[in-house]
Subunit: 193 residues, 2 copies
DNA sequence: TCCAAATCACTACGTCTGGAGTACTTTAGA
DNA sequence: TCTAAAGTACTCCAGACGTAGTGATTTGGA
């Protein structure tokens, strides 16, 4: 088993792209080799099994999709109102556009997690932590709304992401849709409802 | 190519189950044969290619997941208020639970559509028609809200479905969540906002 | 500075699995 | 009895996997 960490990361990144472009069906060691531009057999040398490769993808996809700290800082410099929430939501959709492959891979992994208990455990833990963080961040930073507000935003944005990744022509102006969503779901002022 | 339509349908249904349990990766003629309980080679005899099989699955999955007319009739017998909308949303989630395989297959197909232009076209057309139908139904039957209301419900329910299919432990009481969603998104009375 | 050892990149090959397709046989219904 | 579909069993093949072998590069020690 080879130990070059740069190369391992490159392989995992390539696996994300393969997952997005070819689907779970196309995710083979050889395909990863090709996508990463390394000689055939390399992925075999770095990962004991396809499952192990998938797990590592699952672990690294989250850091790849993490929000940009500068955007967070910028928004927090402004008043903590509905508009700020809307800006965060728009930023999420912008990231989906910017790293389409990453989010598609995340969806593929969700489905894979349906069949792999260990991946399911990992994913559930990570996602729950992320939601909890979102709630804590939202409330602590004084943005309007409570946990339920964030939960509603969460499921709506999940749906919007799935939709714009897979059938983008269905919905029209997603920016306006987000604005309306925030208007309906987020209260005007902070504090418990 | 064999012509027994009952058998063809049975094979397509089996393909849905395979898609749900094994994923797109596991969808082979042989797997479909096994799932349908027919001899090896049968699916080969009924479908010229795997792609063709997928297309037929895409065409039939929608009729399999269609809402129960009796539920629709029952709800329409009651007053057309928020509670009626909530009842419809609950029914959707109930159907997800009842035919988990069907909805999982739908998700797999969404991802496949990302890579197959013909499937993408078919799916987009079907889904758009379904959304338009939902809007028309909603407005025509005097339920409170307009097109945008239905769109917001649509994306939120899509997200909720994905979430409860793949990571059901994240969200707590989904029924309460739906009730809150409807409260926020659906106006109290009918008519334009 | 030089040498030895170890690690890694890369090539190329043998093996193997499992899926596809299809000839052939059997069965059932008209 | 004739025909079409069901069922059986076989061959063929692609593609993937893993690894042995070789050359290059780096590391550590004297």
């Amino acid at each position: 088993m080879r130990k070059n960490e740069d190369r391992r990361r490159a392989l995992v990144d390539a696996a994300v792209d393969v997952l997005a472009t070819e689907g779970a069906r196309g995710l083979t060691f050889r395909a990863v080799d090709t996508a990463a531009g390394v000689p055939a057999g390399t992925a075999s040398n770095y990962f004991p099994s396809r499952d192990e490769l998938l797990s590592q993808v699952g672990a690294h996809i989250h850091v790849r999709l993490a929000p940009d700290p500068t955007v967070v800082a910028r928004t927090l410099a402004a008043p903590r109102d509905r508009a700020a929430v809307a800006r965060f939501m728009h930023d999420i959709l912008d990231r989906v556009t910017a790293d389409r492959a990453g989010y598609l891979a995340l969806l593929e992994l969700r489905l894979e997690a349906t069949r792999r208990p260990d991946l399911h455990r990992t994913f559930t833990a990570t996602m729950r932590a992320q939601l909890d963080d979102s709630v804590a961040f939202h409330v602590d930073s004084g943005l309007p709304g409570d946990r339920r507000t964030v939960e509603l935003l969460y499921i709506a944005m999940t749906g919007l992401i799935v939709e714009s990744l897979t059938l983008p022509e269905i919905l029209g102006d997603t920016r306006a849709l987000i604005d309306d969503l925030v208007d309906q779901v987020v209260p005007l002022v902070a504090g418990p409802r």
